[in-house]
């Protein structure tokens, strides 16, 4: 029987996480396969058409980093990492290994579902797989957006920290330069990453961003309004 539900693979050696998580995700309407280690995970990936992997980093034997590298080497399967560490090491290494996103334990399962949805939607839309931006830099205009620091750096080297909302909006814009994005598209693209912090209107975030990046916020040159359309970043974006 063919199953239309997205098929998730949970890889975690901790049964106390794996089982309740599997139960929760099943209730949320996903088909879930569990694996207690890297070996079982490889077997499951061969046996089934997995849509997304939820992968714990710290596992005995082959760890999550190694498995993630293997998954990335063999295809485009999206990966969300689970980490128990709040410092940035795991996160950055995980993202460099090619993970699409990460959550820190103990995580809110609803937030995990929101991220799963966002990634699956992007994958289904045929969009080029968008890597999580956190370890990247984007240069546009006279600014460099440092995703890892959540800050803009100006030509004078002084960094200007951004709020979560501003940051999410700007990441979306720099990853879609010179494209007109409607408010709905912007909301959609920025969701999944701490959606709660983004319930203020897009317009509000845009005007805050303009105050930070435009020489004259009343006459924006970078973040332009497109009449009847939405917003666009009118600048070349390079990856320094």
């Amino acid at each position: 029987m063919s199953d239309a539900r997205p098929h998730l693979l949970i890889v975690d050696d901790e049964r106390s996480i794996r089982e309740p998580l599997a139960a929760y995700l099943s209730k949320e309407g996903y088909r879930v396969t569990q694996a207690a280690g890297a070996e079982a995970a490889r077997a499951a990936m061969t046996a089934y058409a997995i849509d997304l992997v939820v992968l714990d980093i710290m596992m005995p034997g082959e760890d999550g980093f190694s498995l993630c590298r293997h998954i990335r080497a063999t295809g485009d399967l999206p990966v969300i990492m689970l980490t128990a560490r709040t410092d940035d090491t795991d996160r950055i290494v995980g993202l460099e290994m090619g993970a699409d996103d990460y959550v820190v334990k103990p995580f809110n399962p609803r937030e995990l579902v929101a991220r799963i949805k966002a990634i699956l939607r992007r994958a289904a839309g045929g969009a080029v797989r968008q890597r999580a931006p956190d370890s990247d830099s984007y240069a546009f205009g006279s600014w460099v957006l440092k995703a890892g620091e959540r800050a803009l750096v100006g030509t004078d080297g002084v960094s200007v920290p951004l709020s979560t909302g501003e940051f999410n909006l700007l990441v979306t814009l720099v990853t879609h330069p010179r494209q007109v994005l409607t408010r709905d598209q912007l909301l959609d693209l920025t969701q999944g990453r701490e959606a709660a912090a983004f319930d203020r209107s897009i317009d509000n975030q845009v005007s805050r961003l303009r105050r930070k990046i435009e020489a004259d916020p009343k006459d924006p040159q970078l973040l332009k309004t497109v009449w009847g359309g939405g917003y666009t970043l009118a600048a070349e974006v390079t990856r320094p």
């Binding site: 901790e14 103990p106 800050a151 709020s163 979560t164 020489a215």
Partner: protein, 476 residues
Amino acid sequence: MIAAALRRIGPRSLAGQLALLVGVALFVAQAINFALLLGERRERRATQLVAPAVVRLVRAADRFERGGLARRAGPRRVQVGPRSGVTAAMTRQPLIERRVAAALADAGVSALEVRAAEAPADETLRQPRAARRPPAARMLVLSVRMDADRWLTLRAPVRDGERVLVARLLGETAVLYALLLLSVLWIGRRAARPLHELAGAAAAFGGTAAPGPVAERGPADIRVLIRAFNAMRDRLVATLAEKDRMLGAIGHDLRTPLASLRLRAEAHDDPAERARMADTIAEMSQTLDDIMALAQVGRSHEAAVRVDLSALVDAIVEDLRDLGGDVAFEPSPRVPVALRPVSTRRAIRNLVENGLKYGGRVVVRVRTRGGAAIVQIDDAGPGLPPDQLERVFESFTRLEGSRNRDTGGAGLGLALARGIVRDQGGDIVLENLAPRGLRATLSLPAKYAEPTGADRRRPGRALGSDAIGRWPPLVP
């Protein structure tokens, strides 16, 4: 005692104290040497002066006794007169008097009294006619009383040997001082330089392995000290690394069951109960975070970068507003400061969250004052009893009295915030506002607080919800 006196008044450095001690010892030795030399010199000079003078006197006395010595005026070596040539104004020389008296007695001259004195040379002195020698500046006046009203007076030039001697001794001492003190200072510095490095390394030791071992150099005993210090440093680094590893393991081991609990809580039927469980778990997780962060304070791996403090505070306030906090950011000038962005963000956020928790409504502003960048966080709460203003910064302190578990927190947020800020050379203080409210003032050394030329190129706009078009004060 000497050491105590040196500590109080003398130089404090090793080289300075060594030099001072050697200088004092040398001075005492030279003084003794000088006194001995001077005494001996005087003795010799007396002998040198007395012998020819006595010969002349004896001859004159002979002639006098034979009546051949006339009373003649004019500068002669020996004169006869009714009064002694030694006047009251002259300095008597008892040593020479005794010598002369003894010598005359030996020569069989019977003198009633002998007086001797030194005086500045005057016209009564017959200067020898030897060329190429300047006239003597002083003279020796010797007067011998032959009978009731006749004195034989002899005036002889005195070459001033003492001054030459003093000048030579002073010259010698100066050369000695120069050589000795220079070498002592050199040795002292050689010993002190590695000690300074050691002190610097000890002071800079923040627990990270960043300051490497101190290079072993200098005298052998100092090398031993440096080696011991380096060994201690290695042990400390190892201990701290072990502590990190342990805290990481504890964090992981506690986070996993917490995550499990969080997942199971989701299966609970009662939504209110589910939310409460989620809150408790979030709080435990936060405390765990704080403990681990607090353990890392002072050993931060985070690099300082130049950040616009106003934008940082603005971003924090914006995030908390998005989460429903009643917090406002007052228009503030652009204040670039070198700081560690992630931990400083955490410190400021802790302060604002604290204000929201106890004060309900919070206003934040950024200012510069003197050489410091200031963040003021004012809440509208009841404030704190004055004796608690410091206590709340202690780890795991919960305020007694009216504050219960719900509002007391684990008492880590403020300790952590202060640790983070102090680690960067700043501080956090609390004060009560009139008529009500609590103000937390966070200060950071504003090494880059004033806009530099480069900063001015980009128009620095004031940030804040209604601050469009406001400019920071420009530095002339």
